[in-house]
Subunit: 274 residues, 2 copies
């Protein structure tokens, strides 16, 4: 998917909502555990109920790997279901990978070719030659961790190198990499006031923003500081939507939570004439 | 496995060799492609021929994920084969994971419980609460990226925060984390002279050292600067051993390469009376 296609979809749906598919078998409705593949059954119900309200889905690979082969199979079924039924929806493998060059190429093949995701999240610690193999894939997007939404972000990311915070160094440096137009960035919503500075460095790139809701971030603040003229934001909510209820009506209740966020987003987009 | 058990095994085998199982179907002997599971067939042959020469095996997860479900299955068969036949050998899931707390817990379950590896490599970018969930597992080891062996290590890792390089900040800071006794560190062999400084910060921790051979590192230098009184080193070789040949005799030729390194290691250990 191209960035333009994503922007069109955002404008059409009046939504820049990304729904995180972080499926924990201890948290899904008990009646689904009788299904042959409870993880996929859960995802399918959530997707069927929410696809008109969001522009992206983001399975976090950890939740699938934890269930071994069956988990990986559920991930494969989920991405195939999305690509077959909702090819207009942007898909994110939240995998936070990154390794030396030839190894990053194998990860890129895993997520861009074998699983056919539109994008993958990547950690920046190993630098340029660990990220460029991902950037080499046309119409695929590499979402680099910049400033994450957890407390540990303050351990290294906000420390200062030569007068500039590490996450800003990551933004600046990554702009110089080959095919950097395929980059997007993870920026946590819990630090919305940082977004103004971030936009000075990368005015045009999309930001994937976790941490709205459960982790305390505020949608209005994120939009105020982070939105650009192509919207430029994907705001993720995982637990706040998918675990809205464990009743038989869980998918409808998830859709209600998603719709509430979508309507807030529509207001923001309308106010900005986007 | 406890660290003491690993040290005993090193002394018994006179080896601190780790063999990287980075299986690329384009590089393995052609006759194996006829097998039902070529990746596992390759690994089994390599393990059968080299297990007496090494103390650790390190499959890099990227090479398995790139082949989808079949790849994950081959990884599962490989670790099961090792745990059943060679429980005395230390196993490393080279996965370079790391995420917010509840997600890192899922990764830890994937590698420590579901796949039953002894250790996993983890990226430090997201800080304390992204690493501590791994450290919570008893007799399991978290191998934190400090200074990697690739060119990109100079993009961020060697930059200076408050007068100290980022990788040294990672070493210092991680020492304060809960259960930090379960930490080991990745330190690339291509920067052997850095090891003296690193040992001042973490005198007692094990170091996993990639980059000897193919990436240009020197075994003697690594030992000179990095060895401690419990040896404290695992030196990895992947391509240099497993792709020694693509003939029918590939496993024997791999064993010859492994033996050459093991004998160098035995000399170093004998000279140090270890």
């Amino acid at each position: 998917m191209t960035t333009n296609q994503l922007v069109e979809e955002i404008k059409k749906k009046k939504s820049f909502l990304c729904i995180g598919l972080d499926v924990d078998l201890n948290k899904i409705p008990k009646h689904l555990l009788k299904e042959e593949d409870p993880i996929f059954a859960f995802n399918k119900a959530i997707i069927d109920a929410t696809h008109h309200l969001c522009v992206a889905y983001k399975p976090n690979t950890a939740f699938y790997e934890a269930y071994g082969l069956k988990g990986w199979q559920a991930l494969e079924k989920t991405i195939n279901y999305l690509n077959e039924n909702h090819p207009e929806i942007f898909t994110i493998a939240d995998a936070k990978r990154g390794d030396i060059g030839n190894t990053s190429t194998m990860y890129a093949k895993a997520f861009f070719e074998d699983l056919a995701f539109d994008s993958v999240t990547v950690a920046p610690y190993m630098g340029k030659d660990s990220v460029e193999p991902f950037l080499a894939f046309e119409n695929k997007h590499t979402i680099l961790l910049a400033l994450t939404s957890n407390q540990g972000a303050f351990d290294f990311q906000t420390k200062t190198i030569e007068g500039k915070e590490v996450y800003k160094q990551v933004l600046e440096t990554s702009k110089t990499w080959t095919n950097s137009e395929n980059l997007m960035y993870v920026v946590g919503a819990t630090k919305a006031e940082y977004l103004a500075d971030i936009r000075k460095i990368i005015p045009n790139r999309f930001l994937l923003v976790p941490g709205v809701g459960a982790q305390g971030g505020n949608l209005q603040d994120v939009c105020k500081y982070g939105m650009n003229e192509s919207v430029g934001l994907l705001i993720n909510s995982s637990r706040g939507i998918i675990y809205a209820s464990t009743d038989a009506t869980f998918a409808q209740e998830a859709a209600q939570k998603a719709e509430k966020l979508q309507q807030e987003m529509a207001e923001v987009l309308n106010a900005a004439s986007l």
